[in-house]
């Protein structure tokens, strides 16, 4: 319940400032200032925008299929928000510690597609319908490399539980599994044990260096999953007006935007947990200089919570910032290029990585 409240409030606050950050980053990339008038350095601009949005009339097009049109934003938001249920924010703080955490996450997020379809169809607008179709085609295509990358991590970690996956990348792994051992690059033959060194050396990207490529593939797919540029053809402002949310206004539109930014955060959290060590510090213990211990608290203690939340959130926000950076750098992919990328490049590479990860796993034991 606490996790529910925390994530709901955090998501709202995060969205407000993510929109602000997005505008600032885009402005800086384009040699502009961005919002400057409302609040110090324009900090309150999004708050003002939000207030305006909430006051706006909720317009439902006359010809829209109201039974589908009205609940669609709610379903999209629910699907995204449900994903937060299994995220371990710190070593001892998570909504649900379900054993099938990551599996659940993938499944529930795919419900997003249903909401988008409802919105696109219900709007009775060709732009919305096109946007919805593209969105669905894109999300389904990119779910494959995304899912395969998750499979890679699961094969390395031997569990579907997100909390356990995080523990494995931590110096506290022995607390839940006394016999566990981490080796440098996951190669037991090297004989360099890193279980108590921690830091970046035990993150999944270095536990199995293949995951460096895996992380890139996961990141690209996650961009497509959250309909972000350069994979934003479902929204494609220049051709589809607003894509599936063309006909929405006011609060419902705000809900869709909230979901989009929530999705960004969700996939960033997921990437952090799967590849970047979750709530663990990136500083390793070097001999008697226990940097990793100093920058992360014992699980269950207050310090553990604070350090964990700090590392988790700052890593995720960094990834969100990279998503924005990418968005304002690259042009939008055409539909055929998008499909090419997914089916001809990412999917074969992912399948190969699954195979190699299986081999790597053999080196780890």
């Amino acid at each position: 319940m606490y996790a529910f409240l925390f994530f709901l409030i955090f998501l709202l606050i995060y969205t407000v400032f993510a929109v602000y950050a997005e505008r600032k980053i885009s402005a800086f990339i384009q040699d502009r200032y961005g919002p400057m008038e409302t609040g110090y350095y324009g900090l309150l601009q999004t708050v003002a925008d939000l207030l305006k949005l909430i006051q706006k009339e909720d317009i439902v097009p006359f010809k829209a299929d109201k039974k589908l049109f009205k609940p669609a934003p709610v379903i999209i938001f629910l699907a995204v928000f449900a994903g937060f249920a299994v995220l371990p924010l710190t070593s001892d703080f998570a909504g649900s510690s379900a054993q099938i955490g990551i599996f659940y996450l993938l499944a529930i997020v795919s419900l997003d597609v249903v909401g988008i379809l409802m919105a696109g169809w219900g709007s009775n607008s060709k732009y919305a319908l096109w946007g919805a179709m593209r969105s669905v085609a894109q999300i389904i295509s990119y779910e494959i490399p995304l899912g395969l990358m998750v499979v890679c991590v699961v094969m390395i970690s031997q569990t579907l539980n997100l909390q356990e996956i995080t523990y494995q990348q931590s110096i506290w792994w022995n607390q839940i599994n006394p016999e566990a051992e981490n080796y440098l690059f996951g190669i037991k033959a090297l004989g360099i044990e890193t279980t108590n060194v921690g830091g970046i050396l035990t993150w999944n990207i270095l536990r199995s260096p293949l995951m460096l490529i895996g992380f890139v593939i996961f990141f690209i797919s996650s961009l497509a999953e959250s309909n972000r540029a350069p994979f934003d053809i479902p929204e494609a402002e220049s051709e589809l007006v607003g894509g599936f949310h063309t006909e929405y206004s006011g609060f419902r539109w705000a809900l869709i935007m909230l979901s989009e930014y929530g999705m960004m955060l969700l996939v960033s959290f997921l990437a952090v947990i799967l590849f970047l060590g979750g709530w663990n510090s990136f500083l390793p213990n070097i001999g008697s200089v226990k940097l990793a211990e100093w920058t992360s608290g014992e699980p269950g203690t207050l310090a553990g919570h604070l350090w964990g939340a700090f590392w988790m959130i700052s890593k995720a926000l960094f990834l969100v910032a990279v998503q924005m950076w990418v968005r304002w750098t690259y042009p939008r992919l055409r539909l055929d290029q998008l499909m090419n990328l997914s089916w001809k490049y990412l999917t074969p590479a992912s399948i190969l990585l699954v195979l190699l990860s299986a081999v790597w796993r053999l080196l780890m034991i």
Binding site: F28, D31, R32, Y33, W325
Partner: protein, 408 residues
């Protein structure tokens, strides 16, 4: 074989993608880094003007402003105390954004800062900045240089009407008073005329009286011209002539001519228009104007609107003046005497000027001669210009009438 090529292309694609994506990220990262500073405003003359600068471009406009040149050609300003209400600016304006109602004074009301005597009040002097096309012609023709373009460029307003900037500073009461004075003055004059019954004399007086003024104005004008060179540059029409004139004027001291010439080019449109008009009409108008020049000058400005001209001319012709007119026409011919002067001056100038300049002039001359009638008339009396202008404006007037009708 093909498959091998395809595979090569496949790997090449991946490499290109990675390279270009990396380059793209580097570019935008650099821009983000440079966004900590703001770009400095550089004048085009600066050496590094074309160098690439990576910093924030945006100026936070109302708080920060980019420097504009002191001689910026933006909002118009009229120094009403220096204005002799000659109406030239209104005539030359291609978009008719200057709206002037002159009110003749009974006597000289003062001097402008360059010494030109002022004889006309501006009952109304409005410049509609919403219509203004910033061509700068009005500032070029302005004889006293009271009309200038300032470096103020932000004159946005909440009400469209606020763009119509009034420069006249007379109160309605003053206007009424002056009008009354003028009426009385005219009555007295009429009475005097009736007594004398010799129209030619006063006319000549008027003409002769006007000429010296014009002459007086010019000396003042000239010294400025060199100082005000921007103006010369601004005159797209006859820069060569002006430059030629200036030296000639200074050297020969034949002041009237240089003054005339600039006007003549300015008046060219009129010349072109006139031939189109039927001679009879023109005669009527001229005749109409002349009578007006004496008794009606008062009437016209009041009625003002160029719109009603043709009617007015009819009315005026209906009225007593017509018989009077004819004698005047001969009276006007003395101006024709002026004509010879003008060409002679030109001739005099031509030698001074370079030969190249002499060529354009022959082209001008025919026009000039036609104009001379007008020009002479117009300059003989400062009021006349308006009348002269009217025939010219006529083609324009018709649309105006409709516009103004609508407005009304």
């Amino acid at each position: 074989m093909e498959a091998a090529d395809d595979m090569k292309g496949y790997w090449r694609n991946i490499r290109t993608a990675v390279d270009t994506l990396k380059t793209g990220l580097k570019v935008t990262a650099k821009h983000m880094k440079d966004a900590r500073t703001q770009r400095t405003a550089i004048v085009p003359e600066a050496d590094n003007y074309f160098e690439k600068q990576n910093a924030i471009f945006t100026v936070q406009y109302p708080k920060e402003k980019l420097p504009v040149p002191d001689h910026g050609r933006y909002k118009l300003h009229n120094e009403i105390d220096d204005c002799i209400v000659c109406d030239k600016c209104a005539k030359v304006c291609p978009v008719d954004c200057i709206d002037i109602i002159p009110l003749r004074a009974v006597e000289e009301i003062g001097k402008t800062s360059d010494g030109t005597p002022r004889r006309i009040y501006a009952e109304k002097f409005n410049i509609d900045m919403a219509k203004c096309c910033f061509c700068g012609l009005c500032t070029t023709v302005c004889p006293t240089e009271c009309l200038t373009m300032t470096d103020e460029y932000d004159f946005s307003a909440y009400d469209f009407e606020e763009h119509n900037v009034p420069f006249a500073n007379m109160t309605p009461l003053e206007i009424l008073q002056k009008k009354k004075e003028l009426e009385e003055f005219n009555k007295q004059k009429e009475a005097a005329k009736a007594l004398k019954r010799e129209e030619v004399v006063p006319e000549e007086k008027a003409a002769s009286g006007a000429k010296p003024k014009v002459g007086a104005a010019k000396p003042a004008f000239k010294p400025r011209v060199p100082g005000a060179k921007p103006k010369v540059v601004g005159k797209p029409q006859i820069p060569a002539k002006k430059e030629g004139e200036e030296p000639s004027g200074e050297e020969s001291q034949s002041k009237p001519k240089p003054v005339f010439k600039p006007r003549v080019p300015g008046a060219k449109p009129k010349v072109v228009v006139k031939p189109e008009m039927s001679p009879g009409k023109a005669a009527e108008e001229e005749s109409g104007q002349e009578p007006k020049s004496k008794p009606k000058p008062v009437v016209r400005p009041k009625v003002q609107p160029k719109k009603q001209e043709s009617e007015e001319s009819n009315e005026t012709s209906d009225k007593a003046p017509r018989p009077v007119i004819k004698p005047k026409v001969p009276g006007a011919k003395p101006k024709v005497v002026v004509k010879p002067k003008v060409p002679t001056k030109k001739v005099a100038e031509e030698p001074k000027e370079q030969e190249a300049k002499s060529k354009p002039r022959p082209v001008m001359k025919p026009k000039v001669q036609q104009k001379k009638d007008e020009a002479n008339q117009s300059e003989s009396k400062t009021e006349l210009p308006k009348k002269a202008a009217r025939p010219v404006i006529k083609p324009k007037i018709k649309p105006k009438n409709t516009d103004s009708d609508k407005e009304e």
